[in-house]
Symmetry: C2
Subunit: 433 residues, 2 copies
Amino acid sequence: MLSRDLEGFYCRTPLADPERFLLLHYDFETVVDPEEAAAHLCQEQSTAQWKRPGKEEDYRVKHGAKVVAQVHGQVPTAAFSVLKEKHPVSTACSVTVAHPHVNFGARIPNMLTAICGEGVFFSPGIAAIKLMDITFPENYLRCFEGPRFGIEGFRDLIDVHDRPILFGIPKPNLGLSPEDFSALAAEAWRGGLDVAKDDEMLADSPWSLLTERLRLLKKARIDCQRATGEKKLYLVNITDEVDRILELLDVVEREGEGNAVMLNTMTMGLSAIRMLRKNARMPIAGHFAGTAPSVGVTNFGIHSKVIVKLQRILGCDIVIFPGFGGRMKTADAEVMENIAECVKPLGHIPPALPVPAGSNWAGSLGELYAKLKSADFGIVPGRAVFDHPLGARGGARGLRQGWEAAASGVALAKYAEDHRELALSIEAEKTVG
Amino acid sequence: MLSRDLEGFYCRTPLADPERFLLLHYDFETVVDPEEAAAHLCQEQSTAQWKRPGKEEDYRVKHGAKVVAQVHGQVPTAAFSVLKEKHPVSTACSVTVAHPHVNFGARIPNMLTAICGEGVFFSPGIAAIKLMDITFPENYLRCFEGPRFGIEGFRDLIDVHDRPILFGIPKPNLGLSPEDFSALAAEAWRGGLDVAKDDEMLADSPWSLLTERLRLLKKARIDCQRATGEKKLYLVNITDEVDRILELLDVVEREGEGNAVMLNTMTMGLSAIRMLRKNARMPIAGHFAGTAPSVGVTNFGIHSKVIVKLQRILGCDIVIFPGFGGRMKTADAEVMENIAECVKPLGHIPPALPVPAGSNWAGSLGELYAKLKSADFGIVPGRAVFDHPLGARGGARGLRQGWEAAASGVALAKYAEDHRELALSIEAEKTVG
């Protein structure tokens, strides 16, 4: 039986005004009574001390977070918990907390402070906790614009409607002169690549100034568009100190049509995506560099789909996250959830293009198509295009052939019999694989 | 024996030009040969593919990260690794990587992309990895200004030179009107508090506009300074969307002397601290809300001292981080390391005031003084001041008495015998404790 104090952080009947609340879904392990732990979780993430001494008042009414659902069972205490020695067994709980958004407003850093700040991660008796998901009410969601283009708008821009989008990262990712970088991008565009993309490590660097890359890639892009009859795009990494982003955006926008911009989201902070969305007239991509430390553990931190969902809500047209395969250390189910976060209905927010990245090659297209049962995705190979034995043009051709095989339902090896670039891609993949 | 390819990511002799490199200290677990894993770690975080096919070139020379030191031994594979089922036993390694800073420059988001981005957390064969520390060369460090005030400058501002700094957070943290908030701050200032501080959850909110709080606290502060003969300060949380920070800073600066500003660092991104430092003429505090997801696990993510060190380098005069005691779930040794990161010699960068936070009360002063063997720290109680049976004035008096006891070497209980506020603080702590 909870104390009256703690009972005040429970709502045992349906919420009378659900529009007032974000629903926060946490999994946690506790070494105390799980109902008590969940009440503390709500108290600590909202009002903490909820009245002044000697006053008749209760700030929980307007500002208190409330437990609205809870299930639990016993498990071994997580390996990393400092409480493990004292408490080898704990109780695992899944809890839904209704947190009133008046506490932080439609502001991302303030929201994060509430939903994954001190109150959550230092709540008494909780050994380990993970923020699994957020459900937003319509009125809160309406404060955010979402992607300007979304999947449809982005497809319109590059005039590709019936197949996955082929991004590619010129390699080596560090040290290439703008001339060499541009020459590689041009080769890949000629071979069939849609989007030449800066590596997340490449930025506005002394050996490769952004203005130089833009100038050269514009010329190359126009040439390739003329030669191939296809639209081409350059996705520019403008990750930099946060007070330089809008200046770099201006530089990219001066180049006009045919560009998109990328931020390494979590190295900058999610709020930078929103700032960019307010100012950019071109597509925005969010890259997962810097996300892993918060999302890479099973029962602690933040679920990666929360980060994907927030990027979409804040304005990313393209969300790049770890995809399938051992190298990306992400369970298949988690990759599928992240893909779903990009495309599932979310109020007025359009879908964002999911790009499950990492070791992508020609064969990834068929595999992803089979798993997703949709062509609404992108791949972002590096080596598979730019270390292809026939060079970047051959590598990109191999990608297109990989898709042709998938789309026509022919086995990759069979299709490769009379498609040399694909055959060489398959060979190369075997030696890396 | 490593392949020639991988051997290129080792430097087996002392670095010829150490000023070119950040030294990155990682602990990792691997299921492959540890020398091979460390080479991959360097390759993935720097050049990845380091030459174009068919060209005689080697981008590793200028851009490659290099293993410069390594030790290892066998351990059980970490519980959270998706590789655990296949590989129950792995090798634990501590490795020092020399990463050339030309790859990212003196830019924090780009640096983070390299040192804790995709290349690090998705390096082949590495089951789990944690960035433990960074050693900066002088020439790189000189690109950063560090705190404008530091401990000495901050002490000068509030004219407190011989004891710890007493911060306090008016509670309830959410919902108080600016009038009520200001009245509580004034009471605490009268009782002996140095700095009234916004809770990390409080910001520029509809029920408590920043302009209103500033106006009322300015008046209260001047009154209290006159009445007590002591300098008082208001630490304002300006955490908000990143493109609103400088506007809020302007609002705070218009109020002039007697204010300092706070950001919830990791909810905004470290780069926001640097932006603030460039523009603020008042002290800056960094709060740990949002840090736990990246730093809360023993063998994965980022060590908390890296975040503390970066906040100091980027310009925090005050760094607030989880302190001692079970509630803060941080090992004592880690708290001590974070305190050391604030104050130890670091080129031209002045020391920042360490504030080991969480459940601070009058008794924390003596405990911290004993552990730190220095009075160069702050405490940041909430409840202990603002839920004191005699109100905030009594709570703050209790703090001062707690310090008097510690400074004069008298046991707390003994000193409380003829200091009523302290006696009541001790009582209250027992019922909470």
